[in-house]
């Protein structure tokens, strides 16, 4: 039966609609139930994805063929897709858990949770899409849900952020669609894997059209992942949005752009590999540098985290650039490194924004100087935030080190000009310590007299679990590295089994 491969998607879609219907029947005081209800849905879906990926990996290692291509090449449910689904679902899980505390006093909870579920559903489809049309439609499903979520509280800051985010998002979707339509015009198919087969036989006279399409795609997805010079919207949107939604945007929605980029560029346009390799190398270095140096002077923690998120996207882009290396096996390592950093960044950045949400819930502002003495006032939140920040800075025994280490390893192994990517990464990491360290300094080093506050329970719980995961990946990375290596291998196997590297 085909459907058994899509339990996670079916569960999420079902819960998204069910949340809307249950919302109608509930009294106003009982709406918190919706949060727990969608939490259950996400947890179920997460468990089934994890079971699915473990069994798929097991059949591959046993040498068995697993069905990956569905609906005539519309969907590629490979380990690469499962990896991203795990990322999206984990983020959604913790965002919803934190939202129960965060939105306790808000209206429209039914819409809030169902929009989160719809957005997650869209992102999961993007991860699996083997067809440009499906990819675009699910991209829009996810994007439009998040535009509405950004304006959730309808105050001035929310509305402004949502407006900026919506205009830029709609524009970039248009650019992406334009790029896709040129690609279709040249090759005559919308299936990504078909395009890969046809491109080598395309007449030379179409080359300029193909280059135009590559440029448009990079620009369009560049907006989605907030790469330099398309990054200006991100700090405004993340600052204005409700903090839990900032977590969702930075940790999950942004990663959706990376799935699409990796699928389209790596699979469909391998012949143009060297060209986008250079473009991505330059983009990566500029993105991380601009992100880090802009983060240095921020006084608002949400803007600081937004710029840090831009910088981290730069590291991932640098890893994607390494895929174009011609040295054998480096591309596997590069994709695995990019994937692992996407996972760890989702955990760290999601955690950091959830911590900000918890702090602002207690009436403490989002300026960094308001965090003075937080180590004494909110010990759990401050400790978790410290772990996330240290991990973002790439300190060993935290998750961020492992993934940054893999990226650095990929750039060094690719040798030649790629090593410069690694050197820029190193210099940028050191710069970033200053602004991460400054928050820690305010929380712990500065004297402050103030009462100990009562930390919101569910937010504290999600922070503790996220911090535990960050430390777990840092101490025992083997399973996670293995998963990302498998995902990378399945990406290049075009749906026919997996070539493992050793």
């Amino acid at each position: 039966m085909v459907l058994e491969h899509f339990y996670p998607e079916i569960i999420i879609a079902f819960f998204a609609f069910a949340t809307l219907f249950i919302d109608i029947t509930l009294k106003k005081d009982h709406k918190d139930f919706l949060g727990y209800f969608s939490l259950a849905g996400i947890a179920l879906a997460l468990i089934s994805v994890i079971v699915q990926s473990i069994s798929t990996m097991a059949s591959y290692s046993a040498g068995k063929e697993v069905q990956v291509v569905f609906f005539n090449g519309m969907i590629y449910n490979d380990i690469f897709a499962m990896f991203f689904k795990v990322v999206f679902l984990v983020v959604a899980l913790f965002v919803v858990l934190a939202s129960v505390d965060y939105t306790r006093k808000d209206n429209y909870k039914g819409e809030y949770y169902s929009l989160i579920l719809f957005a997650t559903f869209g992102m999961m489809l993007v991860a699996m899409a083997g067809n440009l049309i499906l990819l675009f439609v699910s991209l829009e499903l996810a994007s439009i849900s998040t535009y509405a979520l950004t304006a959730f509280r309808k105050n001035k800051a929310n509305t402004e952020a949502a407006m900026k985010y919506f205009i830029i998002g709609a524009l970039s979707s248009g650019i992406i669609l334009f790029g896709m339509s040129i690609l279709y015009g040249v090759t005559g198919t919308t299936n990504i894997y078909e395009i890969a087969k046809i491109i080598p036989h395309v007449k030379d006279s179409f080359n300029s059209a193909l280059i135009l399409s590559v440029v448009l795609l990079i620009a369009g997805f560049g907006y989605k992942i907030a790469a330099f010079p398309f990054h200006m919207w991100a700090p405004d949107a993340y600052q204005g949005a409700p903090s839990t939604i900032s977590a969702f945007l930075a940790a999950a929605t942004k990663k959706m752009g990376f799935v699409a980029i990796i699928r389209i560029l790596v699979i469909a346009l391998p012949l143009y590999v060297s060209e986008w390799g250079v473009i991505f190398g330059v983009l990566g270095v500029l993105t991380m540098t601009v992100g880090n140096f802009s983060a240095l002077k921020q006084t608002n923690i949400k803007r600081m985290l937004a710029y840090s998120s831009i910088a981290q996207a730069g590291y991932i882009i640098a890893a994607i650039a390494v895929i174009s290396s011609t040295i054998p096996n480096v591309k596997y390592l590069a994709v695995a490194a990019a994937l692992l950093h996407i996972l760890t960044h989702a955990l760290m950045k999601g955690g950091a924004f959830i911590a900000v949400a918890g702090v602002s819930l207690l009436g403490i502002g989002t300026e960094i100087k308001n965090y003075r003495g937080l180590g004494k006032r909110m010990p759990v939140t401050a400790m978790a935030l410290t772990i996330f920040l240290l991990s973002l800075a790439g300190i060993p025994f935290f998750a961020g080190f492992i993934s940054k280490f893999l990226i650095l390893a990929a750039t060094v192994e690719a040798r030649g000009i790629y090593i410069w990517l690694g050197i820029f990464l190193v210099i940028n990491s050191v710069v970033s310590i200053y602004y991460y360290g400054r928050v820690i300094k305010y929380m712990y080093f500065e004297d402050f007299q103030g009462d100990k506050l009562k930390e919101p329970k569910l937010i504290a719980t999600s922070l503790v679990v996220l911090a535990f995961l960050v430390v777990l990946i840092g101490i025992a990375p083997q399973k996670f590295v293995h998963f990302s290596m498998y995902a990378a291998a399945s990406l290049f196997s075009h749906g026919h089994g997996v070539v493992m590297l050793h």
Binding site: A409, V412, I423, V430, I433, I440, K441, F445, P477
Partner: protein, 486 residues
């Protein structure tokens, strides 16, 4: 198997102490002291394991990240044992000296201190480069918080500077390690050592420079030293003891273990340049020490000067010089711990560490006074004490390879004697000034005990240096064989 225990014991002790301090703040000191004493006991056991297992090095491995061929590899040899013993001892001193000094958030303080001990033990016992690097970086986090939370007035600046400076150095080292991996296919120190001669000399030079930057920042060698005066003086005394006694040893240890073992030929090629770095550091630090008005800063710069001496010994690539350098690493750790401990006691009793305000403290309190004189004399290299043995062997070793450098280094000895004696002459003796007269000295039994033990160890090593020399000599010989020196 003892190494995992050696690393995890302080970590577990720190955790227990932290959680106990949430309920009962009085027990955390006892827990910390017990942990460090147990750790010292384990270090002694470690020594016995080396002696019973013969002088050859042993290694033990556990998988960590199989996909990238990284495993935990731990080993024992003379150098490791010397450093582990020193670490165990210094942390006991540090915990004892913290008893009356740290009054706020004690649970966190001792937890961080013990985490640092765990990290240091990891650095000194790992034989896999990535694991080595990870422990190397781990040490930095507690140091950052210890300086930042418990330090003096300028602590935030000092903590961030320490963090960023040494982290930058470490990351260059990481690139060097990764390059070594991709050229040799291994992270294991011994395997790389066998394979590294295949790499072309130019690439080896690049790798060596990258590694060297990491060590030079940590040691620190002039001109990579600018974090040192801030960090050493802003840190509270128990932390200063660890920073100067052990953090600098990490760099020196790295220079010996990684520099010589991994790239012996490149090391031999650039030994002269490294020796010049050492010489510059010796003189820069000695002149800076001469200009200090504060005893704590003076001790900090004198520590820097000693470290320059040790670097010179490591660069000499002669058996006696390398033995002397390792000997002096231990001896310097003991002397600097004693000095900081006593200056800390002085500061606690009189409220100042400024040289001009401390006139006549010897006649006020004989115990602190005379032991400070003793420690200063040991540090300036009085024959019969351990500092003398270290310096003279390093100078003899340097004479074998770079005789001119040896003569230049001798010129620094009067300077060293100068700043210590001048400091003593300005402060220790003479009529007591107001501040010292009003001071109230109250020395705890445990503090007095530690002071006496350190002093006895310094004297013992001075009278019978062969005990330690024997331990490290086999290791030095193995290392020098790699460079073609013997």
């Amino acid at each position: 198997m003892i190494v995992p225990l050696l690393i995890s014991l302080p970590f577990i002790g720190g955790m227990i102490g932290y959680f106990v301090s949430k309920y009962d703040n009085t027990k955390v000191k006892a827990i910390a002291l017990t942990t460090t004493l147990l750790e010292l006991f384990l270090a002694l056991w470690f020594l016995s394991e080396l002696i019973t297992g013969g002088a050859r090095s042993q290694t033990y491995s556990y998988w960590w990240m199989k996909s990238l061929n990284i495993n935990f590899t731990f080993g024992i040899d003379g150098l490791t044992v010397a450093m582990v013993l020193l670490t165990g001892l210094i942390f006991v001193v540090s915990v004892v000296s913290a008893r009356d000094r740290i009054k706020m958030r004690e649970g966190t303080f001792y937890a961080l201190l013990l985490f640092m001990e765990a990290g240091l033990m990891g650095v000194f016992t790992s034989f896999n480069l990535i694991i080595f690097y990870i422990f190397w970086e781990i040490v930095l986090i507690p140091a950052f918080f210890l300086v930042g939370i418990y330090g003096g007035k300028n602590r935030e600046y000092a903590a961030l500077k320490l963090f960023m400076y040494t982290h930058l150095g470490s990351l260059f080292m990481l690139i060097g390690i990764l390059m070594l991996y991709f050229y040799t296919g291994s992270f294991n120190i011994y395997e790389i050592s066998k394979l590294s001669s295949v790499i072309s000399p130019n690439v080896r030079t690049i790798i060596f420079v990258l590694l060297f930057i990491g060590f030079a920042v940590k040691i620190p060698l002039v001109p990579f030293h600018s974090w040192l005066p801030d960090a050493y003086t802003e840190a509270p005394y128990p932390v200063s003891i660890v920073l100067s006694g052990l953090l600098s040893k990490m760099g020196l240890y790295g220079l010996i273990r990684l520099g010589i073992t991994l790239l012996p030929l490149t090391y031999a090629h650039y030994a002269e340049e490294i020796a010049i770095f050492g010489l510059v550091t010796i003189f820069y630090a000695a002149f800076s020490a001469l200009a200090q008005k504060d005893i704590k800063r003076l001790v900090a710069f004198s520590s820097l000067s000693h470290v320059g001496f040790i670097t010179l010994g490591i660069a000499s690539l002669s058996l006696i010089g390398l033995n002397g350098a390792i000997f002096q690493m231990v001896s310097h750790g003991l002397m600097i711990a004693l000095l900081f401990l006593l200056v800390g006691l002085l500061r606690r009793s009189t409220g100042t560490s400024s040289i001009s305000k401390l006139r006549g403290f010897v006649s006020k309190n004989h115990f602190v006074g005379w032991f400070l004189v003793f420690a200063s004399l040991a540090s300036l290299g009085l024959p019969g004490l351990s500092g003398f043995v270290g310096e003279i062997t390093i100078l003899m070793g340097t004479y074998e390879t770079f005789s001119i450098f040896s003569f230049i280094a001798i010129l620094s000895l009067p300077l060293t004697a100068g700043y210590y004696l001048w400091m003593l002459q300005r402060s220790a003796f003479g009529t007591q000034n107001e501040r010292v007269k009003r001071a109230y000295f109250k020395i705890k039994g445990s503090e007095a005990f530690v002071v006496v033990v350190l002093a006895i160890l310094i004297a013992c090593l001075g009278f019978y240096p062969a005990s330690l020399m024997h331990l490290v000599s086999a290791t030095s010989q193995t290392l020098l064989k790699l460079t073609g020196g013997i």
